[in-house]
């Protein structure tokens, strides 16, 4: 039971989403509390190369307000970012750059491919364009659309939050995860 604050009779404290709680304490597992904290503070790293980037700008803006989901601070340094958003066509020549950006991000790190080009190459079925960024880095969430609306990008972020919340705390140390990175030829520190 939440205690009522001040004179406003309508205010209720938000009950905890997970675990077991009572006045002044909460019991939950480390996995869940860490997942909760991580999922509500995903710092985005926008990697925008074309029109999907414009949609992302709208998503960051006041109308759609990505900040509501704990992504207030776009991080333009990969080292402080949790969530890489790749928006737009990635030419093969750009591939190594994107890969280096990914490699510079600290664990745990997640990737959202926004738009048809980042997901699959889109209409650019041509010799110069990477046919989906999952050819060079692992992707957690795909947002289709050409370009997707800001609502779709928000939906993608919320899907990622779900993933983050339910991720095992030890996943990044697991042999499966290391094997995944190794399959992309990415160095595991």
């Amino acid at each position: 039971m939440a205690e009522i604050i001040g004179n406003n009779q309508k205010v209720e404290l938000q009950p905890s989403e997970q675990g077991y709680n009572g006045p002044g304490f909460q019991l939950t597992s480390l996995d869940k509390i860490v997942g909760l904290a991580r999922s509500k503070s995903l710092w985005p790293l926008p990697f925008a190369t074309s029109c999907c980037g414009i949609e992302f700008m709208a998503t960051m803006g006041a109308n759609y307000d990505l900040a509501r989901f704990g992504s207030e601070r776009p991080s333009f340094s990969p080292r402080q970012a949790d969530m890489l958003l790749v928006m737009g066509t990635i030419a093969k020549k750009m591939g190594p750059v994107l890969r280096q950006v990914y490699e510079q991000m600290a664990e745990p790190r997640w990737v959202i491919a926004v738009g048809a080009c980042a997901c699959s190459g889109g209409v650019f079925d041509t010799y110069s364009v990477l046919q989906g960024i999952d050819k060079i880095i692992p992707v957690d969430v795909y947002v289709p659309g050409c370009p997707p609306r800001p609502e779709q990008i928000l939906d993608g972020v919320m899907k990622l939050q779900e993933l983050v919340q339910n991720e095992q705390y030890s996943r990044r140390e697991s042999p499966e995860y290391k094997a995944l990175l190794a399959s992309y030829g990415i160095n595991v520190n």
Partner: protein
């Protein structure tokens, strides 16, 4: 007095004789063909002559004609502009299909540097005397010259696109059912 096409044609023909031919004027722009050995000499003449004064290399590019005879399978096209009389000229030189080589224009115009690198990148045309002939737009690891018509436009590494859904069929096959799902071409 503005420089007219007839004057340009007359001066060029006088100087180069047999090496220049096929003068036409599509959209009022003087266009002609030059022997590949004379292309850069011609460019220098157009630039340095006191009357012609084509002081600016507007653009240049490679062209591929795979159906021509071997001696004429590639071409380089140059466009020059006389800023003083506002007159333009275009000329092309045809190159050998097995050994596309032409002298570099970089000694006349620095702006030719990147344009020749682009023509090399996409067509594999060798510009003799270019200071740094390497790829400019495509990735360095690329082994093909993608604008040559024998190279397919589509990325050959794709695995998730079925040609049937893109309106493409493999050559010599009109049968939709004969396409292997997920097959490339």
């Amino acid at each position: 007095m503005a420089l007219d096409n007839a004057t340009v044609q007359q001066k060029v023909a006088e100087k180069f004789g047999e090496a220049v031919k096929d003068f036409t004027e599509p959209y009022d722009m003087l266009t002609f063909e030059v022997d590949r050995d004379k292309a850069i000499e011609l460019m220098q003449f157009l630039r340095d002559d006191d009357i012609l004064r084509f002081n600016f290399l507007t653009t240049m590019c490679g062209i591929h004609f795979p159906d021509n005879e071997v001696e004429r399978q590639f071409a380089v096209m140059y466009q020059m502009h006389n800023w003083l009389d506002n007159t333009r000229v275009r000329f092309k030189a045809f190159l050998n299909g097995e050994n596309p080589e032409v002298e570099s224009a970089t000694r006349l115009f620095n702006s030719a540097n990147w344009m020749e690198r682009e023509a090399f990148d996409f067509y594999g045309i060798i510009f003799k005397g270019h200071p740094d002939l390497k790829r400019i737009l495509n990735m360095d690891e690329m082994v093909s010259f993608p604008m040559r018509k024998e190279f397919p436009l589509e990325d050959q590494g794709r695995t998730d696109k079925d040609d049937r859904y893109f309106g493409r069929f493999p050559a010599n096959s009109a049968e939709v059912g004969s396409v292997t799902p997920g097959g490339n071409r």
